[in-house]
């Protein structure tokens, strides 16, 4: 299999308490793969093994079709960025950017600069950081640090970019801004990239493909929509924040689609869901942001496609910034997200009754 990007085949590794089991993944040119998983899932170890810091017990790593499994990190030609971007604190911005160029010109004689300064100047200009050339990293903002890190990594013209939770120390607005910059940077360079995170927002915003890991194993790989709407099992469902995971039984409903009973209430599910659930007992996944609420007074939006309609009793509401969570009792507990302003507009107060709508397509079944 020759891929223009990265191919990892059946990677296994034991490293202290951490184990990787049969990890297989591939990233095409210009593609961004996000590895998502809880702490200790083996995400960083996977990334570091691809970069060449751990020798796998089994499996192969191919970068642009070249088998690099036994090649040391300095000859793998990958760009590696981690939390706070890993700038060398004892070097200036220009020296950081020149580092990769310098290290390719062995031997380096101390005090003798063999770096073609024009390359560095060009990179600094390209990333709009020429005015920072003589500063040290501690005097830079997070955004400036990221650009220096991009320039430094790009200087060696890597075949692959690896990001290990680069934003984990940042506040939300900065995070969003830097994420957008990073996305634009990767789109521009058209190089394959792997981005490790445990943050759903990072994953949804950046990923062409998401790979969910837990305990050193690949649990699911797919598009953001696959992962977030049709998780492969209860672990992924819980990890990607599906708020409603309910026990149900497959029931025959005469007519087109598939029926599932949850606490005595009948819900219609998409017929194609049955293929994955050959047993009667299932788990019913419903994203809270796909539960719609209608107050008696509000004008009704005609929904497209088939829907389930239920009566709900509001148990509690809680404000989470722009969104609010509404806890409902529909015969079974159900959580819904609404815009916070709608809580007042729709008079969503505890103990009032409300109409609940769930599109058939929003229901995903997992084997119990």
């Amino acid at each position: 299999m020759t891929s223009p990007g990265l191919a990892v085949e059946n990677l296994s590794l034991r490293l202290g308490a951490c184990r990787l089991r049969n990890v297989t993944l591939d990233v095409g040119a210009g593609e961004i793969l996000v590895i998502l998983g809880p702490n200790g899932a083996g995400k960083s170890v996977t990334l570091e093994t691809i970069a060449g810091f751990h020798r796998p017990d089994a499996g192969r790593i191919l970068i642009r079709g070249r088998d690099v499994t036994g090649v040391p990190p300095e000859r793998r030609n990958v760009g590696f960025l981690f939390q706070n971007f890993g700038l060398f604190p004892h070097l200036t911005v220009a020296e950081n950017v020149a580092f990769g160029l310098r290290s390719r010109r062995a031997p380096i004689v101390s005090g003798h600069r063999s770096t073609p300064s024009s390359d560095v100047a060009e990179l600094l200009a390209q990333f709009g950081i020429a005015h920072l050339a003589k500063r040290h990293p501690h005097a830079l903002s997070p955004g400036e640090k990221q650009r220096v890190a991009f320039a430094r990594a790009l200087a060696t013209n890597p075949d692959l970019f690896l990001f290990d939770e680069p934003f984990s120390a940042l506040d939300a607005p900065t995070r969003e801004r830097l994420r957008n910059e990073l996305h634009a940077f990767l789109r521009r360079t058209r190089k394959p990239a792997i981005f490790v995170t445990h943050d759903h927002t990072d994953a949804e915003a950046l990923a062409d493909k998401i790979l969910v890991m837990n305990q050193g194993e690949v649990i699911q790989c797919g598009t953001a929509s696959d992962i977030f709407r049709t998780p492969a099992n209860a672990f992924v469902a819980e990890f990607v924040g599906i708020e409603n995971i309910l026990a149900g039984q497959i029931t025959d409903i005469p007519g087109a689609s598939l029926g599932v009973a949850v606490a005595g209430k009948l819900l219609c599910a998409p017929a194609n869901e049955i293929a994955e659930c050959d047993r009667k007992d299932v788990q019913v996944c419903i994203r809270a942001d796909e539960v719609r609420l209608y107050s008696a007074t509000a004008p009704r939006v005609t929904s497209l496609g088939a829907t389930n309609r239920l009566d709900g009793l509001i148990v509690a509401t809680s404000r989470l910034g722009a969104l609010s969570k509404v806890e409902l009792d529909c015969g079974f507990p159900l959580h819904a997200y609404v815009m916070t302003r709608q809580v007042q507009e729709m008079k969503l107060v505890p103990r009032s009754r409300i109409e609940v709508e769930i599109a058939v397509d929003s229901i995903h079944l997992l084997p119990h």
């Binding site: 300095e74 793998r76 890993g86 004892h90």
Partner: protein, 222 residues
């Protein structure tokens, strides 16, 4: 005053040799202790710290049993290499090394531990080999810790009395000379040499600090 000058010169020379040996052996050991975990690491760290916890006269007696005429190392060293640890500067260095080397190892270890290993990883992915990474990333960033260790080791070596006086009374180092003068001629004579030793030690200490911080500055500004 010839004796005094000789004693002072011996102290400076032996302390210098001690510091060089401590740095050559202690800095790599500190790097291993900071970066690699292996079975028995805690034991090695504890052995390194023993001289800090034991009275130096006891260290001297222990060293005498190992490096003395009939010692398990002293005897074969003399027989095979002609290297004597009694009545020679080699004995002084052994005494100084044992009590002063922990400062090099511990300070350098703290210096290395303060360097984020991920910076070393980034250097590797940027095309730098392990030695280049050590030279251009790890050492400049841990330089302050290493120089602190070197300075403390030199200072501790100059000031060592207990271990040295038991292992090697002659040739006399400056602290032993002071003690000897005090026993033989009283406070006045001893005090004169003591002040001289104090001035020389302080001057050296300040010079070393200056050199250490100067290197840090150029390291940061390069």
């Amino acid at each position: 005053m010839l004796d005094v000058r000789q004693a002072l010169a011996l102290s400076l020379e032996a302390a210098f040799l001690t510091t060089v040996i401590a740095a050559l052996a202690g800095v790599p050991l500190a790097y291993l202790l900071a970066r690699i975990s292996f079975p028995g690491k805690a034991v090695i760290a504890a052995i390194i710290d023993i001289p800090l916890a034991v009275p130096h006269t006891i260290v001297g007696i222990a060293l005498l049993m190992v490096f003395g005429r009939e010692g398990i190392l002293g005897k074969p060293a003399d027989a095979l290499l002609g290297l004597k640890f009694w009545g020679t500067i080699a004995g002084v260095v052994v005494g100084m090394l044992f009590v002063a080397a922990p400062y090099t190892v511990n300070a350098a270890r703290i210096g290395f531990e303060a360097v984020d290993p991920r910076l070393e990883k980034v250097a590797r992915t940027l095309g730098m080999g392990p030695w280049g990474t050590l030279l251009y990333v790890t050492l400049p960033l841990s330089w302050r810790g290493i120089m602190t260790g070197v300075t403390l080791t030199y200072a501790r070596s100059i000031s060592e009395f207990g271990a040295v006086v038991i292992l090697v009374y002659y040739p006399m180092t400056a602290p032993v000379q002071v003690y000897d003068l005090f026993l033989r001629f009283g406070l006045r004579d001893a005090a004169a040499v003591a002040v001289l030793l104090l001035i020389v030690s302080l001057a050296l200490f300040i010079l070393l600090r200056y050199v250490a911080s100067g290197r840090v500055h150029t390291g940061g500004g390069r």
